[in-house]
Each structure stands twice: as C-alpha cells, then as structure tokens.
C-alpha cells in the first residue's frame, strides 16, 4: 500500500472572517488618539508621560503575571495596552508614577488576571483601577488642586466640582462649545468631547463597540438630566452640560461597551446603557460624588450577567 498522506482534519467551518483580537485592540487605540492628542496639546509633556507610563506598567503587570503563573504570553494582542491607555485617559496630567503603578496593578491583575484573564473580567478593568485609587487617594482626583499649576486661557475650574459645590447657576461661565473643544479642566483623555465622539463613532462603524449601549447610555443621561432640570431648574443643570463634562463621553464610548463586562443581547444592551446613564445623573445630582460615571458603570457591570439573561426566544421555541 502506498504511504498514506497526512491530511489535516478539523471541524467545520473551514473559513474565518479574519477578525482578530489584536486588530480590535489596535483599532481602539486608534480611536483613543484624537482625545489623547488634545490632552497632550493642553497638558503637554506631563500628559505624555502619564500615558506612556500607564501603558508600560499595564503591559509589565500582565507580563509579570504570565511569567509567575507560567501561562501563555499574550501581551502582543494589545489588550493590556488598551487598559493602560483608557486608564491614563481618566487621570489628571499630574498623576505621580506610583499612583499609576498601583492603579494599573489593580486594573490588570485584580481587574482581569485573577478572574481568568481576557474575557473573564466582570468589571471593566480600567474602571476598577480608577475606582480603587480614587477611593484611596482622593486628592489626586480633585482636578482643581491637581491642575493648579496649569495656566490656560480658559476657565480652569473643574466644571463638575463647580456644579456640585455652587449649584447650577455657577456654571453659566462654561460655554458648551468650549467644553466640547476640551477647554475645561479634567482628565487627560476626557476633556476633548468632539475627539471622543469621533473615536467612538469610528468604533461603532467598525462594529467594535455596540451602538445600542452608547446611544442608550446617552439617552439615559439626557432623559434623566432633563427630568431633573425640568422640576428644579434652579438646582440642576441641563443635559448637555453633563454630556460634555467629567468622564461622560469616555464612559459612553470607551468604558461601558467593554466586551466582557457588558451584555450581548439587544434588549439587555439597551437596559444596560440606560441604567448607566440614569445612575450617572442620579449620583451627580443627589450623590456625594461629583462624577458618577465610574460608579454607575461599575454597578451596571455588576448586574450585567442578570440583565443579559433577557434573551430572544430561540428558533422554533414558543
């Protein structure tokens, strides 16, 4: 008998659409670029330093973890770099190196690796990192203090802090247009609203993040803020101010739609987005925190597995 050829046997399908986790992550980085560049423009070399450190530390932590646990090294897929970038986008340009080191540790190791690595994280890792260091070192997130040495040609009072401390009348000095352009005090990647929107729309167009989540998130914010403003216009400001301040847009396009911690079915996505939006405004308007995005998304991350149980009836089932 002639020697049998050794053919490859595997299961159908035998073709693939070519999508890759690394390509997805590179796209997210690309989308973050407009907002980041604006941050670099306003806050200069210190902002560049913060972002650079944050990316390096994140990658370092993942590498260290995979060496210690002897697991496969996957840093090439860019998911730690994405955590690093998004984490840095939420920091003030003055964040010290050790804060970043601790924050990325929480994000990468506690937020993701101990849950089994990529895909296993119940919370958005970057948010978890920020939330923990925010609780521990509050002063660094007092953007008025943090950015005191920056002298800009625009109002350097952190808009959400102004709203929280002095009420709706105090914010008349902020023009929505300036806020959109990034002419406000805030985190490196969170000030340039238009840039974030461009990045977000790019991701939606690429199918990387889901429009259901983003749009319902925005709807949640607008509706809730509008309701507040309608009943007590003196104490609460209108919805657009909320949209362009703090981490709002970052939350809408980069934080809430993170794969592992957000739903995949349509109805749940909408509920999740609305929930994030509503909670954000509730926290901002009646809670103690100036910015509610972080906690709103964490809470929705937590109940995501529950909402994602709402699914359509399968084929042929009644």
């Amino acid at each position: 008998m002639i020697k049998q050829k050794k053919l490859i046997v595997s299961h159908a399908p035998f073709i693939h659409n070519g999508s890759k986790i690394s390509i997805k992550n590179y796209n997210i980085m690309l989308a973050a670029l407009p907002a980041l560049l604006a941050g670099f423009y306003y806050y200069g070399i210190r902002a560049v330093g913060v972002v650079g450190l944050s990316i390096s530390f994140s990658i370092f932590w993942e590498l260290a973890f995979s060496v210690i646990t002897k697991s496969e090294k996957r840093i090439g897929d860019g998911s730690s770099a994405v955590i690093g970038i998004i984490f840095a986008m939420m920091l003030p340009a003055t964040a010290p190196w050790w804060l970043i080191l601790v924050g990325t540790f929480v994000a990468v190791i506690i937020g993701r690796e101990i849950f089994g690595g990529i895909g296993g994280n119940p919370f958005n890792p970057s948010i978890l990192g920020i939330a923990i260091i925010m609780l521990s070192w509050k002063e660094y997130f007092d953007f008025n203090q943090a950015l005191i040495n920056f002298d800009m040609d625009f109002n350097m009072f952190y808009p959400l802090a102004a709203l929280k401390s002095f009420g709706a009348s105090s914010i008349s000095s902020f023009s929505i247009f300036d806020l959109m352009l990034g002419k406000q005090a805030g985190a490196i990647g969170a000030v340039f609203g238009i840039g974030i929107i461009i990045g977000g729309l790019y991701l939606i167009a690429k199918g990387i993040i889901r429009w259901e989540i983003c749009f319902s998130f925005i709807a949640g914010i607008l509706l809730t803020a509008m309701t507040f403003a309608m009943f007590a216009p003196a104490s609460y400001t209108g919805p657009f101010f909320h949209l362009f301040t703090g981490y709002t847009l970052l939350g809408v396009f980069f934080l809430a739609p993170e794969d592992s911690s957000s739903p995949v079915n349509r109805m749940p996505m909408i509920i999740y987005g609305l929930g994030c939006g509503i909670l954000t405004i509730l926290i901002r308007n009646i809670g103690v925190y100036a910015d509610g995005i972080i906690y709103a998304i964490l809470i929705m991350n937590l109940i995501n597995p529950l909402i994602d149980k709402i699914k359509p009836k399968a084929f042929g089932k009644v």
């Binding site: 049998q4 053919l7 490859i8 595997s10 159908a12 073709i15 999508s19 167009a205 084929f315």
Partner: protein, 433 residues
C-alpha cells in the same frame, strides 16, 4: 446571514456563489479503476456477522445494477456505477460514531449495462422509483418514496446549501427542461401537487421562463438551509423536536429531480454526480464523476495534487467535513469538494471567549452562543440545552466563522448535540427497563 448591525459599514454579508459568474466547462472525470460504495444502513449490524451479508468478494456487478448489501429485508440498496467485481468489504468509521460499510468494486474491462430498470419501468411509478432510484445523484428521501399522504409540499432546491457550491444552480441554469420534466414526473408519481422550485435571484428569470412554479429566496448565507427555507416561504419555525414530515414538507435537490427525468428517458439509473470542485488557489470548477469515484481520482482529473498537511473537505466550507484520506468516495450528496492548501488553513486559537457578542449577532437561530460555549466547554450538555437552547441551533457554522477568539464553537455545538442525544437515549432506555 451576518446581520449588518446598524451603522456598521465594514462587515460584509456572506453571499452564496452565483452560477451566473461561472464560466468553465465541466471536467469529466475519467473512469476509475475502482469505485468505493458506502452503505449507511448499518445501524446495529456488524460486518463481522458475515452470514448477514448478501454480497461477497468476487461478486460481479453490472453498471447501474442495484444490490442489497444485507440479507436483512431493509429497503436500502446500492447502485453500482461500473461493471466490476467486489474486491473487499470493510467498515468505515466517520464523524460522531457514524458507521458505513464500504464496498470496493474493481472495474472490469467490458462494461455491461443492467437492464432491470429499463424493463420494469416503462411507466414512471412511485413503486419503481422507490425500487431503483433512491441512490441517484442528489438522492431522494425515504419520505417522498414511501409517501403515505403526510407530505403536502416538496421544495426542489435549485439553491446550494453551502457557500462555494453551484451544483444545483448549474442544473437549474443548464438543464431546466429536464428539471421541468422531472418535476412533472415527481408530481405524477407521488400525487403531491405542490412541488415548488426554490431559487435565488440569479436564476429567477430562468425558472420563470420555463413556467415552473417558483419561489425566490435570498442569496445570503445561510438562507437556503432547509429550516430557513421553511421559515421564509411558509413562515414556520420548525421546533427542534419536530421533523419536516410533521409539517408536511420535504426537500429534494434540483439535481435529483433532473436525474429522475433522465432515468425515465434513458431507461438507465443515473450514476454520474455533478459537483463543484474548489482548487487550492480558490478557483472553482464543475466536475462530473461516477458516484463512488475515489477523491484522489477526482483531484487528479482536476489537476490538483494533494500534499501532506493539506485539507480535503467534502461538503461546503461552513458545514462540510474534513476527511483524513483521499481514498474516500464521492457520495450521491457530495455537492462540493474543497482542497485547502496547508498554508491557507486558519488554525483555531486557545483564547477564551471575550464575550464580544459577534456570534450572537450572527446566529440565525437567535442563540446566546456566548453563554452556550461556556456550558459546552464545561461539558454541561443538558444545562446548555435547557437554558441556552442547544438543540435549536440550525447548524450553519456562522458562530465559528465570526468568532474573534477563533473558538471552534460549531464543533462544540455538534459534539454537544451528539452527547445530548446519547444522554437522552440512555435515559429513554432506563425508563423502558
């Protein structure tokens, strides 16, 4: 059926191949020295029980002769495509424990045609169709051949189930007259009046010109899978525990219908299978070969050398199966044969599910595939079925095709269904005891 998410500009739909863009002549595969005939009516019988076999080595078969491999009065039979002697009888194990008996027929120099069919079938009847034609190219289902009145509608598929294939479309576009004749015969012998040709938009005009009762379905994958045809044309979603027979529907391929016409016209049982052959460079040609021709002869006739580490696939790229030997025959339902070069094979990865939800968006059966994989990976087949509708999957393979982590989702699903069937069978047995 990759639903385009709103605003998503980059994802493309998966379209079926169109025969209209197909411009090659048919390769006639020369007669092989031997044919391999597969018999799948094995069930519990073992080949070792030689006294059960009704054929033995050195038995002579004529071209077009039908024979029963087992003495058992099962109505299943095989048709030999050449004149030759049986040289060996073996069992062949296929995916998921499926067993075949393979009967190898060595060709004799002189070809002798079997006259049995032409003598007995001056007039087409269901009885003689059932007696001689169940193995024709494309095959005719048991339910049609033994019609006892349950089947009310027959869909003649002028579409191809899987991507790359144009086999049935080619029949519609070039043998429309035989197809029309075949449909008439089918109606007459079964007494079923509602015989509908299903085509996609590329062939609508051809079918209408021939005045055949026609329905048009989308040319987007997987719209021509039987369950989706029923959904689209009859607006019925077939529940997982029901069969097509329960709703009075059956399917037959355009090729089979054209073969019926040819059988009664020529008095010979058709044994030539038409198929789409996809070469290593991705180019596609049509080839005609006798049922039972070993794939290596087919590849040779199509100028394709098979090397180590290539992949040889029967059936389409989404739902077919890769086989480990080129000594495997063309069966009567082999519409597509694909040879994939070693360097073009995309490997699976060992990434976990990242919960991106692309599979959920792609799934035509609306399954939460992301959750399903988690349960299937853990081997929890019953929970996977109870909570995440494993059995409602219509087996299109899209979930694996789109999975960004390259998880073999579809493989998990098929295995899950197989294991689930075993669990259920066992449970049923225990109740019986």
């Amino acid at each position: 059926m990759l639903k385009k998410p709103c605003f998503n500009l980059t994802k493309h739909r998966l379209e079926y191949e169109s025969v209209k863009e197909f411009s090659s002549s048919i390769v006639e595969v020369p007669l092989s020295e031997k044919l391999i005939l597969f018999f799948d009516g094995l069930q519990d019988l073992e080949i070792k029980q030689e006294d059960l076999l009704s054929v033995k080595q050195d038995d002579l078969l004529k071209t077009g002769e039908k024979f029963l491999p087992f003495k058992d009065k099962s109505s299943k039979y095989l048709t030999s495509g050449i004149t030759g002697k049986i040289s060996s009888i073996n069992t062949f194990q296929s995916d998921y424990g499926k067993k075949y008996i393979s009967i190898i027929v060595n060709r004799e120099k002189e070809e002798v045609f079997c006259e049995e069919f032409s003598e007995k079938s001056k007039e087409p009847t269901l009885a003689n169709a059932s007696e001689f034609l169940s193995c024709i190219p494309g095959g005719i289902s048991e339910n049609i051949l033994s019609n006892t009145g349950e089947i009310k509608t027959i869909f003649v598929c002028g579409t191809d189930n899987d991507l790359f294939s144009v086999t049935n479309q080619y029949i519609v576009s070039s043998e429309i007259e035989s197809l029309k004749k075949g449909i008439e015969i089918l109606k007459n012998i079964t007494g079923i009046d509602n015989v509908i040709l299903v085509v996609n938009k590329y062939l609508e005009q051809t079918a209408l010109n021939a005045e055949i009762k026609t329905e048009v379905i989308s040319s987007e994958y997987p719209k021509s899978l039987p369950k989706l045809i029923v959904k689209e044309l009859l607006n019925i979603e077939l529940p997982p525990d029901k069969s097509f027979k329960d709703i009075g529907v059956d399917f037959i391929s355009a090729e089979a219908v054209a073969s019926i016409a040819q059988a009664y016209k020529t008095g010979k049982v058709p044994v030539q299978k038409l198929l789409t052959f996809v070469k290593k460079d991705g180019s596609k040609i049509l080839a005609k070969a006798k049922i039972g021709t070993p794939l290596k002869d087919l590849c040779a006739a199509c100028d394709t050398a098979i090397d180590n580490s290539d992949r040889l696939i029967i059936g389409g790229p989404m739902t077919g199966s890769a086989i480990y030997t080129d000594n495997y025959p063309i069966l009567n339902n082999t519409d597509t044969v694909i040879v994939q070069a070693a360097n073009k094979i995309s490997r699976i990865s060992d990434y976990p599910c990242i919960n991106c939800g692309t599979c959920v968006m792609a799934c035509p059966a609306r399954l939460s595939v992301n959750m399903l994989v988690r349960y299937l990976e853990a081997g929890l087949y019953e929970t996977a079925d109870d909570e995440y509708d494993l059995s409602a999957c219509i087996e299109c393979g899209l979930c694996s095709y789109v999975c960004i982590s390259k998880i073999p989702v579809f493989q998990y699903i098929k295995l899950g269904k197989y294991e689930l069937a075993k669990i259920k069978a066992k449970a049923a047995e225990e109740i019986d005891d």
